[in-house]
Amino acid sequence: MIITLMLLPLAAGILSFLIRDDNTRRTLLLWTARGHFLLTAVIIYTTLALGFVFIGEPPAVVWFDYDALGLLFIGITSLLFLGASHYAVTYLALEKRDPGEDADDGSIFNNAPEAVFTGCLLLFLAAMTAVTASRHMGLLWASVEATTLLSAPLIYFHRHKRSLEATWKYLLICSVGIALALMGNLFLGAAGLKTGSGLDLGSLLAHAAILDKPLLKAAFLFLFVGYGTKMGLSPFHTWLPDAHSEAPAVVSALLSGALLNCAFLGILRVNAVCAAAGLADFTGGILILFGMFSLITAALFILGQRDYKRLLAYSSIEHMGILALGVGLGGGAVFAALLGALSHSLTKAGLFFTSGVVLACEKTKRITDVRGLWRRAPRTAVLWLGGFFLITGMPPSGIFLAKFLILKEAMAQKHYWLAGVFLFFLAMLFAGMAKVFISMTFGEREAKPGEKPFAEPAGMLVPAAIFFACVIFLGLFMPAWLSGLIQNATGNI
């Protein structure tokens, strides 16, 4: 079943390179996403019904298997991809009709062939599926690197200088970062040399107590820097704002909502091994340090931001920081971090979807050039403002719950300074983002001469609206199966 889950997008991806007709290819994308989601749902359902039989003791050596943590992350990825595929179909149709206008300097550019775009999108899903299912650190590494290589062509969909620059930075910084993670894998293997466990996750966890501690620490550091680069933790985040702002909105949504989580999963896996070996204090300290640093960096860069897609990218860095902080604190904050990962993915994907509509409407990414959105595109404006309230953690939303629980845990552990700084920068982020979102939504709008009325594409707004509704729902009422899944997943960290 798990193999089918990986092969389905792989086969569809290869097939879509061969299909000539645009409509057939789009249908293929749509149905692959639906099939993938359905399969994921079946796997989650059967695993929940069986009651996580393999947690703690996976059957011998397996390459791919799902524990609760992997299930949670594949659930997020698959749901996000389902929304993204519906969005992409409308988006690609729009791009076909009206391509080649540079939003910033008015120059003409081409788009990459649609077959390449759709194909890479599907292969990207296959690679992410492999990341979430890997039970071997070497395979996990290879899959994470594959996600980098397969998503690079997606960023370069609009063929102009800036997207090319973003693609190059993304490729190089992430590849070198991931190369450091490979170094970490070697240290991890050396730490377990006596036990003969290689890089098999189950075996490493089982023998955690007799792993070589100094080597394990070195392994954690290298893997943290490597996957942290991919996850966008500051100060290794430099590729992230460029890539997110230059990629098409649907790709930004997938990068932010699904890919960053996959990199985070890499850190969580090695963190679990370290925790089992009694190094939880060491790894926790590092996670808290870089988590707070990311939060602070994001807050400072959001204040002076002029580009609304870059703003969203920095907000992703902020949330990755919060996730790291939650896992670093441990206890109840781990649950909060995983809930935060889920809610952030949905909210940020929705916001990026909406930002794509704003871009299509206003033809600019500059914040100061977008005013009075609610007059020209009222439904988009509602989602834009709603998404802002959700992402900054206004109740009721899953993000509010996550931030609140992390704060509570920090207070319970008597980290009063940490809690204070955390609150201060959250407030700063709220103020910085409020200024931007409110001025874009309201504000006085000067009608440009010869401006046609903008028809809001429903296919691009509905996925965002559904995602936002899910996040609000999570804040009000959490279904028992979901809280059970997250609770079980905290046991895997």
Partner: protein, 221 residues
């Protein structure tokens, strides 16, 4: 056998130093290829007795990739981009070699401090660390996109040697997956270089600086 392996280690260190001072782009590509081939030979000489057939096949795959496929991909990218023949370093060659030597001294110190399992090839850990440092040096102090890819490959060589030093046995499937990734990485980067040269009329990465947080909004005016 071991003395021969140790000779190879010395050779790899010398190649690092040569990379730091080589000015020609084509010689750089050749040096990196040579380093890859030599590193690929290393596992065949490290063990005692005849090497395992699996190891021989794997070494052949590595040598073909690093010695033939990568250099030809990069040479093609260089020809198509019509780049200048030198690597255009941002710092002088004496400074490069001083940094490289400094890195080697630091690596020998670190190699003796790291709590690693005993190896039977002298200097293998310092050599691998020095190679990784050299790769970073190439990425950060050379301005061309191709030299950054070369730096990435040198880092990869360094990590490969480091893996040999630690005796970490990875299953064949994982090793092949890693190699496939590196291959696709070089391939994709080659395509990206081609696009960069077409868009910008050169492959100088110093010009890739339009995206940042402070100067936004100015372009196009």
């Amino acid at each position: 056998m071991h003395t021969f392996a140790e000779l190879i280690i010395v050779f790899i260190i010398l190649l690092d130093l040569a990379l730091a001072v080589t000015g020609g782009l084509s010689s750089c590509i050749k040096l990196v290829a040579l380093q890859g081939v030599v590193a690929g030979l290393l596992p065949l000489l490290a063990g005692s007795g005849a090497p395992h057939p699996r190891a021989v096949v794997f070494a052949l795959v590595i040598i073909t990739l690093k010695g033939v496929v990568f250099p030809s991909l990069l040479a093609r990218a260089r020809d198509r981009s019509g780049a200048r023949k030198d690597v255009e370093p941002l710092i002088s060659y004496p400074a490069s070699i001083m940094l490289c030597l400094g890195a080697f001294i630091a690596s020998s110190w670190m190699g003796s401090r790291l709590p690693l399992p005993e190896t039977n090839i002298a200097w293998i850990v310092p050599a691998s660390l020095a190679t990784i440092f050299t790769g970073f040096l190439l990425i950060t102090t050379r301005s061309k996109a191709i030299t950054q890819v070369l730096g990435y490959l040198v880092i990869e060589n360094g990590i490969y040697i480091f893996g040999l030093a630690l005796f970490v046995e990875q299953p064949m499937m994982v090793e092949l997956a890693i190699l496939l990734d590196v291959f696709v990485a070089v391939f994709v980067m080659g395509i990206a270089i081609f696009h960069i040269s077409r868009e910008f009329d050169h492959i100088d990465t110093a010009e890739l600086s339009e995206l940042n947080d402070w100067r936004r909004g100015e372009y196009g005016k």
